[in-house]
């Protein structure tokens, strides 16, 4: 009785110790400590906790499955991690029969599977195996071993049975504790990171350090070789999962995954958004059917030679004694979107198996990571957006200054503005690689490339480059290009995938995405701004708004440049007109002054001669001479006075009115004779210039009707003879003739030899105020209005002034040509 009580107390003490030990554990590997407690309770060398391998069938005949070491504790830290102990063993018997098996000598008991290094190397002799059932229904056994030959007593076995019965529950307690610790730990890490990022989000490098802390915590919790976190960085692209942190000691061949089942276990998790748990990667191919039943289309390729690699990490040289290379991975979800994955692989020490329990522990960690990452991404995107906007404001300010400087140049070049705008676009829109400005050709209603930006425009040979640059896009009718679409709609057009867009017309094969912003001011659209990206990554979210703003800016610049150009041209024309008006005004003033002098001089002379005649004794010869001189002077005064009147009228742009009567032969001859005589008198006799009139018969003007204003005709003839007198060489004859032209018109012709009129000057001779330089030098007086007046007189008669350039013989002809009609 006393012995029984004592034994009961001892057992109770062991239980208390076991419970205390369990409650102290904060790691899953704490199970080893529990096994130690049990082993020490009965002076065992060590304890191994076995579990039936997942997928085993204990009811099958023959038995299917095996046992693996879930956890262990051995006195000398011996490591043993066999994971395919046959069910046909002492331990298997205990599990199958649910009865403890007590073996006095493992080497002699036929039930014991002795082909393990553990038994040989440790020298274990007795063992006992106590079955137990885990809380998730899994079956296992707790084995105790001694090196000494002393077998386990019944009491000891009973003790172990009692203690073993507590292990599943206590282990669960440990798990719960570990879960809380893990979650708390991860929470602390993320909170600390939050605090550090109060002012601005952590950089990616800093984030990786945060995740490094997390994976270390995971690895410590699960005692696994590898704990890794993969996350999607939206700023670099979607469905692209980058390794953020890992505890794997070696190098991975693959640091970036896409959501694709062909990319192995992690790829499957990312694409299916479901967790995966594999008992033993080393047996993947053997267990593939079974695995794919739970995980359809799951594949895995051993690119690392995982057995050897893990064996090296765990320093287990015998591949047969490797623990199960367990693997688990869960997706990191934000709503229903996969933003990453966490994976763990290969326990360093017991528990050597990732059960559902462990997988379920990984899920809340994934949620915490998802929540934090989501915030971080949002803040980073916001920061990037803010920076972009800030940069844009500064850039637009600089651009405005550039535009101002350009527009104030004497010859502003709008294309330079476009170049600068595209440089700004590249700096503020991440991913803007190939750009251009297309403007509308108003004539053909096509968009053409006005300006381009990016190395891609220079790719290819000269012919390819030119063909690309010359490409045009019609905006008529239904849009046949994305540019036309944007132009017609007046809205920014986004192409997320060129292969799926109905309007995209390829200019660059490498383009994947595009933003097309109209270049416009209010309702007027001038063209489009194209921004292309060759990678599959999306443009930042704010890129569209920025592109729209830049499109409006370019529209404004284009509008200003165009109108400034027009205003400049108008200003230039206005200035030219003002200059011309001032010139004409000065010329007009000078002409009136000239006319005044030309009028005053003959009048003064005429008056002087009359006074002389009145004073001096009169002789016939003296009288004749003076009267001839008076005739010439008065004729000149009359001509000048008439010119003044006509000049004033024409300067006011009033038409010359004619009073036409029929030209008679006698009148014409008289007019020609008197005018010729007057001009001959006015010409310096020392120069020896004579005037000769060719005579014709009456018949011509009898048979032909010519209507003229006689006063104006006299003025015109007088002007021609005045020119002839001034510009003829000395000792030459000015000839006056008249008759019909080849085209049945009437003409009066003045021919002289003297100053040369070149064909290039023929037109200018009639211009108001024009005189050749030699003409101005040899005549002095005069304003160059003589032929201009004659031209206007002829126009008033529906006739023509024809100036024939000086011939090789030195003769110059000037003709007055009038309309004529046959008949009396």
């Amino acid at each position: 009785m006393l012995e029984e009580l004592t034994q009961r107390d001892t057992t109770h003490a062991h239980i208390v110790e076991l419970v205390s030990t369990a409650l102290r554990q904060d790691k899953l590997s704490g199970i080893s400590e529990m096994l130690r407690t049990v082993a020490e309770a009965i002076n065992a060398y060590g304890a191994i906790l076995w579990q039936v391998t997942p997928g085993s069938d204990l009811d099958a005949s023959p038995l299917k499955g095996s046992l693996f070491v879930l956890a262990q504790w051995l006195q000398d830290d011996y490591r043993f991690a066999l994971h395919d102990l046959p069910l046909e063993s002492a331990t298997g018997e205990a599990i199958l029969n649910q009865v403890s098996v007590n073996v006095a000598d493992v080497w002699t008991d036929p039930r014991v599977f002795t082909r393990t290094s553990f038994l040989r190397e440790t020298g274990v002799k007795p063992m006992c195996s106590v079955p137990l059932r885990f809380l998730d229904g899994g079956m296992g056994a707790l084995n105790l071993y001694r090196k000494t030959a002393t077998p386990f007593t019944e009491t000891e076995v009973s003790d172990v049975e009692q203690l073993a019965s507590l292990i599943p529950a206590l282990y669960q307690t440990v798990r719960d504790n570990v879960s809380l610790t893990l979650l708390r730990g991860v929470n602390d890490i993320l909170n600390e990171a939050e605090i550090r990022s109060a002012d601005q989000p952590l950089s990616k490098v800093e984030m990786k350090k945060v995740f490094d802390s997390i994976v270390r915590r995971l690895a410590a919790t699960f005692q696994c070789v590898e704990a890794s976190v993969f996350l999607e960085d939206r700023l670099e692209g979607t469905k692209r999962y980058e390794l953020m942190a890992t505890t794997w000691p070696g190098r991975f061949k693959k640091n970036i995954y896409s959501a694709n089942v062909r990319e192995g276990l992690t790829g499957w998790v990312l694409s299916r958004a479901k967790p995966v748990k594999i008992f033993d990667l080393a047996h993947f191919e053997q267990d593939k059917k079974l695995i794919q039943r739970d995980y359809p289309n799951l594949i895995w390729r051993d690119s690392l030679d995982i057995k050897e690699t893990v064996g090296g990490f765990l320093q287990i040289t015998r591949a047969t004694e490797l623990p199960p290379l367990s693997f688990m991975a869960v997706p990191v979800m934000m709503g229903d979107k996969v933003i990453g994955a966490i994976r763990c692989c290969t326990a360093r020490q017991g528990p050597y198996y990732f059960a559902d329990r462990e997988l379920n522990l990984l899920k809340p960690v994934a949620s915490q990571i998802a929540s934090y990452t989501s915030n971080w991404m949002s803040r980073r995107e916001m920061q990037q957006e803010n920076e972009s906007w800030r940069s844009l404001v500064q850039s637009v300010s600089r651009l405005n200054t550039f535009v101002h400087n350009e527009l104030t140049r004497s010859a502003p070049d709008e294309l330079r503005i476009f170049d600068e705008a595209m440089r700004v676009t590249k700096s503020v829109i991440d991913g803007a690689e190939i750009m251009d400005v297309r403007l509308l050709d108003e004539g053909t209603k096509e968009l053409y490339f006005a300006r381009t930006y990016g190395q891609a425009w220079k790719l290819g040979d000269e012919s390819e480059i030119n063909d690309r640059q010359r490409k045009r896009f019609s905006i008529r009718g239904r849009p046949t290009s994305a540019g036309a679409k944007a132009f017609q709609s007046g809205q920014v057009y986004i192409i997320k995938d060129v292969y799926k867009d109905p309007y995209y017309s390829e200019t660059f094969p490498a383009t994947r995405r595009m933003i097309i912003a109209p270049i416009s001011v209010e309702d007027e659209i001038f063209g489009v701004l194209d921004i292309r990206r060759t990678s599959a990554f999306a443009f930042p979210k704010h890129a569209e708004a920025i592109a729209e703003l830049l499109g409006h800016q370019l529209g404004l610049y284009h509008f200003l440049a165009r109108n400034i150009g027009r205003l400049r041209n108008a200003e230039i024309r206005l200035k030219a007109n003002i200059t011309e008006l001032e010139r004409m005004r000065d010329q007009q003033a000078q002409t009136f002054e000239d006319l005044e002098h030309q009028l005053r001089s003959p009048i003064i002379q005429a008056y002087a001669r009359v006074q002389s005649l009145l004073i001096e004794p009169v002789t016939i010869e003296n009288l004749r001479q003076n009267l001839k001189a008076l005739s010439g002077l008065c004729g000149k005064a009359k001509r000048v006075a008439s010119s003044a009147g006509l000049f004033a009228k024409l300067a006011r742009q009033e038409p010359i009115e004619t009073r036409k009567t029929r030209l008679q032969h006698d009148n014409l001859m008289k007019m020609l004779s008197e005018t010729a005589a007057d001009h001959e008198l006015l010409t310096d006799p020392a120069r020896g210039i004579t005037f000769y009139i060719h005579r014709r018969s009456y018949e011509l003007l009898e048979m032909t009707r010519v209507e003229v204003d006689h006063d104006l005709l006299e003025q015109a003839i007088s002007n021609l003879l005045d020119n002839a007198g001034k510009y003829s060489s000395k000792r030459t004859r000015v000839e006056i003739s008249w008759g019909m032209t080849g085209g049945e018109r009437f003409q009066i012709v003045v021919t002289n030899k003297g100053l040369v009129i070149h064909s290039s000057d023929v037109r200018r001779c009639r211009d108001r105020g024009w005189r050749g330089s030699i003409a101005a030098a040899v005549t002095g007086e005069g304003s160059g209005i003589g032929l201009w007046i004659v031209d206007n007189i002829m126009t008033a008669h529906n006739g023509e002034l024809i100036i024939v350039p000086t011939t090789a013989e030195g003769s110059t002809e000037v003709k007055l040509v009038f309309p004529a009609s046959r008949g009396r």
């Binding site: 005053r600 003064i604 002379q605 002077l633 006015l682 120069r687 100053l755 030098a777 040899v778 005549t779």
Partner: protein
Amino acid sequence: MKILVVEDDHLQADWMHKNLRIAFPQAELFQVSTEYEFQTRFEELARENLEAVVMDVMLRWADPPPDFSTPPPEVQEQGFYRAGLRCERKLAEDERTQAIPVILYTVLEQADLKNDLQNLPDNVLYLPKKSDLEPVISEVRRIMRQRTET
């Protein structure tokens, strides 16, 4: 007495010669019709010891070709309106001729020549052209008297 008349209008020149001959029957009269002729005959004229010059202000440069010579830049720029003043300046710049009294005889109003008349030497006088040559004749007489007294 030697009087030079520089006048490009032959009718005006004839009338002046006629009246000067009546007023100064002993005078030897010289005639120049263009600025170019004045320039080319200057040496000859300088040697004549002229006692008075009656100078038209607006003179044509030269007769038409073949006797034509291209005018110098100053003439091209200023034109024929100030030809007489250029000739007067040439007289003033030569010590042989600088003291010769010059009568600027022109249809131009004094107001038209305001700037040009401001800095003329004392031996240069402006007279407007009128139907009566008497003012010119009177001035020549004054010149003669002055010469006699000195």
